[in-house]
Symmetry: C2
Subunit: 227 residues, 2 copies
DNA sequence: CGCAGACTTGAGTCCCCTCAAATTGCGTGG
DNA sequence: CCACGCAATTTGAGGGGACTCAAGTCTGCG
């Protein structure tokens, strides 16, 4: 990892708003800040690999990190995509001693790293940290349950429609926004090949969706909901 | 739920060996025993539904509990299957205030219930409980990651082969065992229609697998690994 | 302005789902 | 203990969805 450093003012600010630290009391925050190390990752950098001993907890400050598992043949299946504020690797962290998945920066990213042993040590003294970890895990579990069910219940166009709707206000107004990352990344997150995502967007043109590059216009959220 | 009761000697014994309580100190165990309520569920009984306010933590003592999500059209997708010793509902428990999935007894089952508010209260005082909860969540997250990747990477016969291998000793000896539950349940767990599971078993006959009712004989684990 | 990577589109294939019907397995009452 | 009947499972046929491979086309950056 490039440029290891102590958190500066800017990074401290971001960390304070992250999912993990935002719920902690001042003392726990201080303890965590104390052991935080900031790192700058180039795109495609691996944070850790499936099967390696787990010794670090990670938190995304900016950019995106992709979690995936590998086939013996080398094919990859994405299982999660973490963005700013998300906690990475809690999956294996408290459980076994090894990472269950591989983590890779999907674009140039800034992340915070915490030595896992020291996190455990702080958590054993301060219940607010322990609770926050459990909360984060709990939320992640719900998300993955949702992904799994979505995979099994819906077709590609339906999954894409649901993703788009989740980025809309609940009212039926037309909206437009920018995809936060590359389409190939979105495809992986939705469990699709990039071609399938492309075809899904193409089909959704008939249902009030216009896509140009990363720009998405949704002219009729109601129609989209009916897909 | 039928026959609510305080845990008797038999139930206390089972609870002590469960994933959650086995790691706790005596005092936390006592506190949890204090608030445990045992219930006997007939097959198909619903424990809780997706979207309901979450007020209970559950632990399977015997039998199996199926977690699934519902389509607007009423189709179901299983996301997890819990057996004896497993903790249910930790997914939504600490996170949001609502269950993220529906839980249904897959067969007549015995479960322990804990009032969630009181569990949180105990956890805020006793870090061993909080840690145990985080551990359980962590392990579950890893399992679901594995399911999701398995779904996306492997065909039905491959998924079935992997399931069978996971129930074998790592050595290459032939083995035979009884499936712990109905095939239709296994199908759901593997994300397959019952017909697809049946066809997979049929295909695996050519790779050293014999199935008669719930009895499975694996004559050549090596061949199975190559599928 | 041009290159490289990302995306789209087309063709072909395979996998798994759905529906329907036959068969087997298992628990229960006689 | 055996037969019956219901439910679970198996088998067949057909169809649709998504993957792979292979070209093209677009986009953004240098």
């Amino acid at each position: 990892m490039n440029r290891l450093m102590k958190p500066g003012a800017r990074e401290r600010e971001t960390l304070l708003n992250s999912g993990l630290l935002s719920a902690l009391g001042v003392e726990s925050v201080a303890a965590m800040m104390e052991i935080a190390v900031i790192g700058n990752l180039p795109a495609r950098q691996i944070l850790f690999r499936e099967g390696e001993p787990a010794d670090m907890l990670h938190c995304v400050l900016s950019g995106y990190v992709r979690l995936y598992k590998l086939d013996p043949d080398g094919r990859e299946a994405d299982v999660e995509l973490y963005g700013p504020g998300d906690l990475i690797g809690a999956s294996a962290l408290l459980d076994g001693s090894r990472y269950a998945v591989t983590a890779q920066a999907a674009e140039p990213s800034l992340i915070a790293r915490f030595d896992l042993k020291r996190v455990r040590e702080i958590a054993s003294r301060r219940t607010d940290l322990c609770t926050a970890l459990a909360n984060a895990l709990s939320a992640q579990l719900s998300r993955v349950f949702a992904s799994l069910a979505d995979d099994r219940l819906h077709t590609a166009p339906q999954r894409v429609a649901r993703y788009l709707l989740s980025h809309c206000a609940p009212d039926g107004r037309a909206v437009s926004f920018r995809l936060p990352y590359q389409k190939s990344l979105l495809a992986g997150k939705l469990g699709l090949a990039p071609e399938a995502l492309s075809r899904a967007f193409s089909l959704l043109r008939n249902h009030g969706v216009n896509v140009r590059g990363r720009l998405v216009q949704i002219t009729d959220p109601e129609a989209l909901r009916r897909v």
